[in-house]
């Protein structure tokens, strides 16, 4: 059967991994290529790179890194950050990305999902969403979670899939950084509305959080950053643990 995926996420700014401190076991903890090698050895099922650079020069640096990673690591690579146009899709796909994640770009212009899906295929378009509870409703947030768009997040997810998004990254702002577990309520609400893979993000603090996630119907992948970067959880240990819990994983 298809296995559940464990995905580390690397934020890259100015050619370096942000949050890359306190990481033991590799030589240069801030070098994205070194980090990618390490995670590949550990058994990561995919890698997500977020380009959080601001300038054109830094963007060039990012695509160089992407090329270097894609030249030696042969697992799926997803790239996000600053994706607003079809040209942005093209730029990262040519450098070795397999999937492209859109977030704010799709909020500004939802058409981008449809146009990219038509051009590159649904499997290439990942819709990433930052979601938070406001007065009991799930709302879609923009600008890295700082701005409430007022849009109903559950409807946004459903619409995104109808427009052609092939996967969803569902990031819960409420649980993000809390390390008390994934936002299972939010994840389940989304899963009930769409039939594409869901990558849950926000809240993982311990290995049990992943097994709890995967016991929920419709959950395909768990994404995390700092717990992997700070080595609070080793991916290799996590996968052995999940296997012992009866979760199908790639070892």
């Amino acid at each position: 059967m298809i296995t559940k995926r464990i995905i580390p996420c690397l934020d890259v700014r100015n050619g370096r991994v942000v949050k890359g401190k306190n990481f033991e076991g590799i030589q240069d903890v801030s070098d994205p290529v070194e980090m990618a090698r390490f995670y590949n050895r550990e058994g990561a099922d995919e890698l997500v790179f977020y380009d959080i650079t601001a300038s054109v020069e830094e963007r060039g640096l990012f695509t160089d890194i992407l090329k270097r990673v894609a030249s030696e690591i042969f697992i799926p690579l997803t790239v996000g950050g600053g994706i607003n146009t079809l040209e942005d899709f093209d730029r990262v796909l040519k450098c070795g990305a397999d999937k492209v994640s859109v977030n704010s770009g799709a909020i500004k212009n939802p058409d981008i999902i449809e146009r990219a899906a038509k051009k590159y295929g649904d499997q290439c378009v990942v819709l990433s969403m930052d979601i938070k509870r406001v007065d009991g409703d799930f709302k879609l947030f923009a600008k890295g979670g700082r701005e409430n768009t007022g849009v109903d997040a559950l409807q946004w997810a459903k619409d995104g899939v109808e427009r052609g998004a092939g996967e969803l990254v569902v990031n819960s702002i409420d649980t993000d950084g809390v390390k008390g577990g994934f936002d299972l309520e939010l994840q389940s609400e989304i899963a009930a509305r769409v039939n594409v893979p869901i990558i849950a993000s926000g809240g993982a603090g311990k290995m049990e959080d992943f097994s709890d996630l995967f016991k929920h119907k419709g959950m395909d992948a768990g994404l995390a950053a700092s717990i992997f970067h700070y080595k609070e959880i080793r991916i290799s240990d996590l996968k052995s643990y999940l296997k012992s819990q009866g979760v199908e994983v790639r070892l």
């Binding site: 296995t3 042969f74 499997q123 039939n195 594409v196």
Partner: protein, 206 residues
């Protein structure tokens, strides 16, 4: 040298990078002479069958590919490239394929439904365990149950005489086929980590 057929479909970065990583000489080409001069051919592809087969025919390379494989030159079709090798596809209509593998390409969701299987998403995306015919040269460097990476909504069926590997996804999904030295993999070896590299390595030795 390996000729990777360029017909304007798909992203060839990882495929060329993985072959280079293995030390193979590969050229992405739409030229007849390159395909004739190569000792192996790879037919890549992502997207829709109808569009891809039309683009491949437009290159005028089909005859060359068929002739070269008839002479015994190894060919590997990957993902949609594998599907194009079949006799026909039922992806949005009926479309004729290259006919190098006996069988048809059919939608996964219809067959899941016909079997009464619910709760599985289509496309079939992710890592799935492969079981294969143990004496197949393509798999000489991997183990039964090793995982490979799939992304697809249609699959090869009625191809019993050619099937050499499969994965379970509610139904038995054709993972790889072979007819003589014409090989096809539904999964992406260039995205399947070490296991995938080992399959490509084996292909370079068939």
């Amino acid at each position: 040298m390996i000729a990777i057929i360029d017909y304007g479909v798909g992203n060839l970065f990882s495929l060329t990078a993985s072959l280079r990583y293995l030390g193979a000489e590969a050229v992405v080409t739409g030229k007849k002479e390159d395909i004739e001069a190569a000792d192996r051919i790879i037919l890549p592809g992502v997207g829709a069958f109808e569009d891809a087969i039309a683009k491949l025919r437009d290159t005028g390379l089909v005859e060359t590919i068929v002739n070269e494989t008839a002479k015994g030159k190894p060919l590997l079709g990957i993902c949609l490239g594998m599907q194009l090798l079949f006799q026909e596809s039922r992806e949005y209509g009926v479309h004729e394929g290259l006919g190098l593998i006996k069988g048809v390409i059919a939608p996964i969701d219809e067959d899941l439904k016909a079997e009464g299987i619910e709760g599985l998403k289509v496309p079939h995306i992710g890592w799935n365990a492969l079981s294969f015919e143990s004496d197949e040269p393509l798999f000489k460097y991997i183990k039964q149950g090793d995982c490979v990476y799939y992304v697809h909504s249609f699959y090869g069926k009625d191809c019993e005489e050619s099937i050499i590997a499969s994965s379970m996804y509610g139904i038995r999904i054709t993972g790889a086929v072979r007819n003589g030295k014409v090989y096809g993999t539904q999964f992406h070896p260039e995205k399947s980590g070490e296991v995938g590299l080992n399959i490509l390595k084996a292909f370079m030795e068939v």
